[in-house]
């Protein structure tokens, strides 16, 4: 656990605390400083959210039990890589088509690191074709690090993470070609996808590979659910890195996120009752559609 002692968690939490204490003072305006009235509800949610997450991380570090329900898709990751190793075929990892400004891509890179560590340990060939240049640059660093951590830097080569093209459909054509020709035994489609989700998943399904998909693009989830063996839906993708790493600090943040959702559920139910039966209560301000 000591690995995080030198991390930024402590100064980060301190700065957030500073923002909280300074906020009321700044609210009076002074020399042009002040809270943006139109975003005050976001400020409150941001403060509450940050506090709960940081506190639950500290609790996790102090050894509080951290139960997280089974996520089928993530339990199947190791099984899929094992199958590829037995069949002597490669593992294909598609990190989505968006750049690292999209949080889903960053979640995908976290899963990629876990997958790469296994392919390094088992010596299974890994293929990570990219559509976005920045995702490509980040993925290369992630996979190199994973092979280092697994103690097999010798297995890492520059061909594992490679760039295809910047067009969504040209990239899909190339990846469909890889799926059909090189017949990887495990296809990972994790990250942000649009219309090409079904093109990739159906092409992969035809080759008989195990397919694990994960995205938060609501419009594309149905296509993955219908064609893939396992699908990580919405927040399951974001919890993947914590779930796979099993590290208390990461799991702590997921627990914190759950607690905020519990508060949100309560706020919705209570708000619903108040709004319906007392209609024009002080909640009014919050209810006005912006």
């Amino acid at each position: 656990m000591e690995s995080y002692r030198g991390s930024l968690a402590r100064p980060g939490a301190a700065l957030l605390w500073l923002a909280l204490t300074a906020a009321p003072a700044a609210a009076q305006g002074g020399s042009g400083w002040g809270i943006r009235e139109e975003n005050v509800s976001a400020l409150v949610l941001f403060i509450v959210f940050s506090i709960v997450i940081v506190v639950s991380i500290r609790l996790a570090r102090m050894g509080r039990p951290l139960f997280v329900r089974r996520i089928a898709g993530l339990n199947a990751v190791e099984e899929a890589i094992g199958r590829s190793t037995e069949l002597g075929r490669k593992v294909l990892y598609v990190p989505g088509i968006m750049s690292i400004d999209e949080v889903q891509t960053l979640a995908s890179l976290a899963v990629l690191k876990h997958v790469a560590k296994h392919t390094a340990e088992y010596g299974t060939p890994l293929d990570v074709p990219n559509k976005d240049p920045l995702t490509f640059a980040a993925a290369r660093e992630t996979v190199k690090e994973a092979y280092l951590e697994a103690g097999r830097p010798d297995l890492f080569s520059d061909d594992i993470v490679h760039y295809i093209t910047y067009d969504q459909f040209a990239y899909t054509a190339a990846v469909s070609g890889i799926m059909v020709r090189e017949k990887p035994a495990a296809n990972f489609l994790v990250g942000s996808f649009y219309a090409e989700s079904l093109l990739l998943a159906e092409a992969g399904q035809g080759t008989g590979a195990i397919q694990i998909a994960g995205t938060a693009e609501v419009a594309q989830i149905p296509f993955f659910v219908v064609t893939c063996d396992y699908t990580l839906i919405g927040e399951e993708l974001y919890a993947a890195s914590a779930y796979l790493s099993r590290e208390p600090v990461m799991l702590g943040s997921v627990k914190g996120q759950d607690f905020v959702k519990l508060m949100l559920l309560a706020w919705i139910v209570i708000g619903l009752l108040i709004a319906t039966f007392f209609g024009n209560l002080a909640l009014q301000g919050w209810l006005q559609p912006q």
Partner: protein
């Protein structure tokens, strides 16, 4: 130590900029900025820089594509002729593309524009539209294979899909006049409710992931060892 702490610090600072400009107002940076959204102005300027950085990253892709394909051609790896086709197409389109990009304003080299446009109309657009049109076939094969009554959930999935598909069939609608309204209701109520549930949950998950990145716990994107 220096190589690891600096990137994490940069991430934190770059991350706080949009948050602060979103939540607070800063002092007026220049006289013609009476509303005092100084921080917003800084954040917007920073965003324009990020767009330029993302565009500059394209070169990383181009360099890698040349490396991979040239290596494939030089040692006659399997499928090297296709690598040659790729590089030729890239060089020709790239050449006319750059020439067009730099000459379009002054329209001196109209033929550069004409050649580039010809490649886009003859190659890029039809290839893109046809790849997209494959979805009509894949939707059919996916529906045929997946909509099977294996369990309760699969049965509901099938029922909802059939409800929508039968809702547009004129014969069926004549037999069951209430069907279009039921289709509308299914899309507007249960479908919208489920999507909202996913959106709220995913938004919390994304915010949690973003926070983990800002305070330096989530760093796999940087390829930093936990202990490094």
């Amino acid at each position: 130590m220096f190589r690891k702490r600096i990137p994490l610090l940069l991430t934190f600072i770059a991350g706080m900029l949009p948050i602060l400009s979103f939540l607070f107002r800063g002092p007026a940076l220049r006289d013609e900025d009476p509303t005092g959204n100084g921080i917003l102005h800084v954040s917007d300027t920073f965003e324009r820089w990020m767009v330029i950085l993302a565009a500059a990253a394209l070169l990383l892709g181009v360099v890698n594509v040349f490396q991979v394909n040239l290596r494939k051609i030089s040692n006659r790896a399997q499928g090297w002729p296709y690598a040659l086709v790729f590089l030729l197409a890239l060089t020709i389109t790239g050449f006319f593309g750059l020439w067009d990009a730099f000459s379009r304003a002054s329209n001196t080299a109209w033929y550069a524009h004409a050649a580039y446009n010809w490649i886009v109309e003859a190659g890029f657009k039809p290839l893109q539209a046809t790849m997209f049109s494959l979805l009509a076939f894949y939707v059919a094969s996916a529906a045929f294979r997946a909509f099977r009554v294996r369990n309760v959930e699969a049965a509901i999935l099938l029922a909802a899909a059939l409800l929508i598909m039968l809702g547009v069939n004129p014969y069926v609608v004549r037999a069951l006049p209430f069907l279009p309204d039921l289709t509308q209701w299914t899309l507007n109520i249960p479908n919208a409710a489920a999507q909202r549930g996913i959106i709220i949950g995913a938004a919390l998950g994304a915010a949690s992931m973003a926070l983990r990145i800002l305070i330096g716990i989530e760093r796999s994107y940087l390829g930093l060892q936990k202990g490094e």
